[in-house]
């Protein structure tokens, strides 16, 4: 499954925008299978948390489906 790392900059309901290391924003939607809940995402936004997301690509939508979210610390990323 493809992965993407970046910083959470926007959270709305079960959707989040991840800013990758090149500065591009990507829309992610929490999938059924993801263990994270919408109410947990707001804390990640406030903390400008770095995440690694395992995702799939749904058809006919410009966005990604987040299947697994892992919180990273700065050392792990670098």
């Amino acid at each position: 499954m493809p992965q993407m790392a970046g910083t959470v900059v926007v959270v709305q309901e079960g959707r989040l925008q991840l800013l990758d290391d090149s500065g591009a924003g990507h829309v992610f939607i929490l999938s059924h299978a993801c263990a994270a809940e919408p109410q947990q995402l707001y804390g990640l936004e406030l903390g400008r948390t770095r995440l690694r997301i395992d995702y799939s690509e749904p058809t006919n939508v410009i966005g990604f489906l987040a299947e697994k979210i892992e919180v990273l610390n700065e050392e792990t990323v670098r």
Partner: protein, 302 residues
Amino acid sequence: MTVPARAQDFTDSILEAPIPDESELTAGVRIEPGKSYGFFTDTTVCIGCKACEVACKEWNNLPADDVGLTGDSYDNTGALSANTWRHVNFVERSGENGVRENSQTPFQSGWLMMSDVCKHCHNAPCLEACPTGAIFKTEFDTVVVQQDVCNGCGYCVPACPFGVVDISLLDGKAHKCTLCYDRLKGGLEPACAKACPTNSIQFGEMDDLVERAHKRVDELHERGVEGARLYGAPGEPGATGDLVHLNAFFLLTDRPEVYNLPPAPTRPSNRVAPSLTAGLLSMAGFALLAVAAFAARRGSEA
């Protein structure tokens, strides 16, 4: 258009912090809990620019979907959905025998454009149908789906007389316009109304909006637009079937059906009592028939 007095207090291009009660500057209204807020959409000044669609998607972080050509005029979103909470309708009209007239009267005679949205009904059928309490009325008299409570049962979808609420196949939950609940709490007017360049989408307190809408209809009648009418305002078409009024109401220049709006929407819960009574009466009727048939058989055997 008058410039709000407080606008003179914020003349710098770069501000250090958000402006408190910014809606006073942009919409001329202070947002306070306990009051009733909504949208008045004046379709006669809509230019179909879709700034409202973009602003909504941008603020709510909604993905673009149904990518491609719809083949339906300039419409590229098709309909309201779980990912599209504002949808600009394009209704192209032609003259007699399908030939476009050489001259057109002002205020949308050849093209009807309308920015559609959740109506935030006073008696919201989606809220009444929701078994988990995920759909609730906010302190601003708007209707919102609480995502962490929604279990995706989908009862709200057929309950909505306007076909607004939709279940997302991606996360399995119901989604619809929140009337920018988070922005209202922060003293900001909804993103779509703020982005509208012609003020076709007006945000404000319901009483003010209804008064403003009636004045606009009178003005249009005076200017020769005889078809101008309100939809969803108290006592007007659209506010039927016990819905009382819609917090997002419209000024139209043609019949509601032309804009893909139901002419007389109703509250589905009104049909529960008649349906239940009809069901019980049917059951009683079948039971009586069965008893009669059983008695007749016993009689013939004896």
